[in-house]
């Protein structure tokens, strides 16, 4: 079998190169696959330095492990210095290498028009009020009384919707006067509920699911009116306004965004916006509005319900403190 044997000197050079390639290219590429973020996470310069130093130390240890290896490693260097590869080549390398290293030193030291990068903490908790931690979305889990009231409204074919939806639903109901007013919500939970109502055998669980479906519909409408311009109609952080903000609107479909925080945190962030963030989260760069100035608590909770649903995520469960 043909096997190419390369000198240890060159295999060590190759090793350093491969380690460098791994740190600079492969780790960022893999990070992108793992995090699902649209950009790679580069290895910080100080860490690259440490990795490369470790690689060189290991090579040094390996090379000096036995005299044979050391001999083989030093052989090409000695040959080169003796002039076995040509004396012109030797002069060029001996002059060129110091110039190259000098240039690198200059590059490192020369002042650049680059900003010192600022680390930003995405989910700061230093000023998050403990009282908000256990908040639950009331529209995700309606009470029995609310479900019963909803059943009565549905039976009377008079279910109130938020004013923003009245016109659209009104026109639809006019065109479809022979159907139940809720049948425009053509999703499974609602269809099931309407069938049970027709058969006069309403299961409370079905009714509850239908009420949540109604809340979701309202939440989606409020999302489309208020949040969509930045966060996009599929909650992907790509709305038509997004490109103007250097700190881009959050993509809620990304892992590590809304699924890693409790609902109470989402509610607090929506209420207080970018200006409510502590210093470590660079509030001066955040375009997130203080929605408590314009939206009621009910509107905010309905939007959060729709946001998690659209993103196909669930909020983190609050930890139990005993």
């Amino acid at each position: 079998m043909f096997k190419m044997k390369i000198n240890r000197f060159w295999s060590m050079i190759l090793t350093v190169f491969v380690v460098y390639l791994f740190v600079k290219i492969i780790i960022p590429a893999v990070s992108r696959e793992i995090t699902g973020l649209p950009f790679p996470l580069t290895v910080p310069g100080a860490l690259v330095f440490i990795y490369m130093l470790l690689a060189i130390i290991s090579i040094f240890l390996y090379v000096t492990f036995s005299d044979d290896i050391l001999e083989e490693f030093l052989d090409p260097i000695k040959k080169f210095l003796r002039g076995d590869y040509g004396s012109t080549f030797r002069t060029v390398v001996l002059c060129g290498l110091p110039l190259f290293i000098g240039w690198q030193v200059y590059e490192v030291l020369v002042p650049k028009n680059e900003l010192p990068s600022s680390l930003r903490i995405q989910h700061p908790s230093s000023n998050f009020p403990k009282s908000s931690e256990d908040l639950k979305n009331p529209f995700a889990d309606p009470t029995d009384a609310e479900v019963n009231a909803f059943i009565e409204q549905a039976k009377a074919n008079q279910v109130p919707f938020i004013p923003q939806l009245e016109a659209d639903i009104g026109f639809w109901a006019e065109e479809n006067s022979d159907s139940h007013m809720l049948s425009f919500i053509a999703t499974k939970p609602m269809k099931e509920f309407l069938n049970e109502m027709k058969a006069e055998q309403i299961n409370e669980e079905t009714a509850k699911n239908a009420l949540v479906e109604k809340n979701l519909f309202e939440g989606r409408a409020l999302y489309a009116m208020n949040c969509r311009p930045c966060h996009g109609d599929s909650v992907s952080g790509d709305g038509p306004m997004a490109d103007g903000f250097k700190l881009r609107p959050i993509n809620f479909t990304d892992n590590g965004t809304i699924e890693t925080i409790v609902e109470g945190y989402t509610f607090w962030r929506v209420a207080n916006g970018g200006r409510g963030l502590p210093v470590e989260a660079t509030p001066w760069d955040s375009a997130m509005p203080q929605w408590k100035l314009n939206l009621t608590e009910e509107q905010r909770w309905k939007i959060i319900l729709a946001e998690y649903d659209l993103a196909e995520k669930t909020p983190r469960i609050p930890e139990v403190h005993k």
Binding site: L14, L21, I26, A29, V30, R32, P40, L81, L94, L97, P98, L99, I101, W103, V105, V110, P111, N113, E114, L115, P116, S118, A167, D168, I169, F171, W172, F184, T187, F217, Y223, A224, M225, N226, R228, P229, G232, D233, S234, D238, P240, M241, A242, G244, F245, K246, L247, T253, D254, G273, R275, W284, D285, A287, P289, K292, L293, N294, L310, E312
Partner: protein
């Protein structure tokens, strides 16, 4: 072992690259039969994802629709803008599939391809919702109108002209000959014709596209996409088809030309202020300005506080900066199709009602709430700087700072010239500083759909609210912009986040010394080794 490593590297690199590739906008299989069950499946998708803009009846009147320009499509008319069918005809199923998959950039209609966004729609769900949307317009049921059955398709010919200087030049001639400039303007900035007092087929004001802003080109920026737009026309709008007026070859040249005038954005966020001898040039076309490096800044609608505005006109501003021993000059250029120098204060919008908690909506409607016409509001632009010297990365909020961390605005208005003003948050309008504190001066000119504004100021002043331009310091800068004939005034504006200006500090001597020392040491070591080996 090395072989395996190589394999791993290649696999990972391919994996990383495949992520960048754009999702497919061509269906893998043709549209399934439009059975009642399939349409019902589409109805469910429609209720979850589409009705808030397009309305439960498909009439484009969903709750979000009043705030959008362009307004969501009314499906009941069967009039579709972006097609591969001839002018005036219905779209093909594949045309609708392309729009649903790709979306229409810079509008409310975004990509729904699940290859592009994680929670997008599968191919079958996209087909289902298309089947449902088609039920809104009875024309789709009539085989006489089917563009495929009736041979009304515009095919993309194979004879595409190469994209080079020669064909672009020919395209520029066709731009003249076909009179594209009558509407789109001599430079393609959408300033040829004032059309927004005329209406399209849906009764909405016509806004002519600025062809130089690629993010505004809705149905694709590839040469092939551009070719299709003037070959099929845009139904419902005055944009005609040139299929009989221009040959295939001419249309390819024209598409190349349109592609060539699309602006390429710079990607840096620090602008170097460049040193010149003599006075800051007062003419924007001065050679000194032409030689200075530009920095592009993207702006977007002010959607942070009521009254919110999501239909901004000024979305790109280009800055250049020069300084001499006494003064700094900043050249600010942005596209604005119409010059608005008049300001009628009585026509300003009172946001009190829409700014309340629980108001119907805190956004401004695209039409009717504010006049988007000439002669109402002045064009304006403001450069924003922090008042307090910046400490580390800590800055005032990019949207007008706050009471404890205010900003200074260099506010220029076409109607009244430039003034320095202080803003302490967005709730109160910026206050002009006293006359003795005013140290900026400005020259503005408007030509062919573009404003050029030059603002100059002494590098250093004795006003403690002023930013001081000293070497080696990063100076944060942000922008506010108003297009008067787009109804913009007050907080109804576009804005940017923070960028930076810098006057470079001279390189310290120590840097050269260290570099030289390194060369000497490593060089000396090398030759010493050589000596040692030769003698040993």
């Amino acid at each position: 072992m090395n072989k395996n490593l190589l394999l791993i590297i290649v696999t990972l690199a391919t994996l990383a690259l495949s992520n960048i590739a754009f999702g497919a906008d061509k269906p893998a299989s043709p549209m399934p039969d439009e059975t009642p069950e399939f349409i019902a499946q589409g109805h469910e998708v429609y209720i979850r994802r589409c009705s808030f803009c397009h309305g439960l009846l498909g009439d484009g009147n969903g709750p979000a629709s009043d705030y959008l320009d362009p307004r969501p499509r009314d499906f009941t008319m069967g009039t579709y803008k972006f097609r591969t069918s001839q002018s005036g005809e219905l779209p093909t199923n594949e045309d609708l599939f392309r729009t649903v998959s790709r979306g229409l950039p810079s509008t409310g209609m975004q990509a729904f391809d699940d290859q592009v966004i994680k929670n997008g729609l599968s191919e079958i769900d996209r087909w289902a919702v298309i089947a449902y949307i088609k039920t809104f317009a009875p024309e789709f049921e009539n085989p006489d109108y089917d563009p495929k059955l009736n041979d009304l398709i515009v095919f993309l010919p194979e004879n595409q002209a190469p994209y080079n200087a020669e064909s672009i030049k020919k395209g520029a001639e066709i731009f003249q000959k076909a009179k594209c400039w009558e509407c789109h303007g001599k430079q393609g900035r959408g300033d040829g014709l004032k059309a927004f007092d005329k209406t399209d087929d849906w009764g909405f004001p016509i806004r002519i596209r600025n062809l130089t802003h690629p993010w505004k080109i809705k149905a694709g920026t590839r040469v092939e996409d551009i070719y299709m737009r003037f070959s099929t026309g845009i139904n419902g709008t005055p944009m005609p088809s040139f299929i009989s007026a221009l040959s295939e070859e001419e249309r390819w040249y024209l598409a190349n030309y349109i592609k060539s005038i699309q602006h390429e954005m710079t990607s840096h966020d620090v602008l170097k202020i460049e040193l010149i001898d003599g006075a800051i040039p007062e003419q924007a076309d001065d050679q000194l300005w032409a030689n200075a490096a530009p920095m592009d800044i993207r702006l977007t609608g002010q959607v942070i506080a009521a009254p919110r505005w999501q239909n901004p006109s000024v979305e790109l501003v280009t800055l250049k900066a020069l300084y001499n021993e006494n003064e700094i000059g900043i050249l600010v250029q942005w596209d604005d199709p119409f010059k608005d120098e008049k300001h009628v204060t009585e026509n300003e919008f009172n946001a009190k009602d829409i700014a309340k908690v629980g108001a119907y909506n805190s956004y401004i409607k695209a039409d009717k709430m504010i006049p988007r016409q000439l002669d109402n509001f002045s064009d304006a632009l403001a450069l924003q700087f922090p008042v307090k010297p910046v400490d580390g990365t800590k800055k005032p909020h990019f949207f007008r700072g706050s009471a404890s961390n205010p900003v200074q605005l260099w506010m220029w208005k076409a109607a009244s010239g430039s003034k320095e003003a202080i803003a302490r948050g967005w709730k109160n309008s910026p206050k002009n500083q006293d006359d003795e504190k005013q140290s900026i001066s400005s020259v503005a000119s408007w030509s062919k759909g573009q404003w050029s504004l030059i603002i100059t100021r002494p590098l250093v002043t004795d006003d403690r609210n002023d930013v001081q331009f000293t070497p080696g310091k990063f100076i944060p800068i942000a922008l506010n912009a108003w297009d008067g004939s787009n109804g913009e005034h007050g907080l109804i504006m576009s804005l940017s986040t923070w960028y930076y200006l810098i006057i470079e500090a001279p390189t310290p001597l120590s840097v050269y010394l260290y570099a030289l020392l390194t060369v000497l040491l490593t060089g000396g070591f090398g030759f010493w080794l050589k000596k040692k080996v030769q003698s040993g």
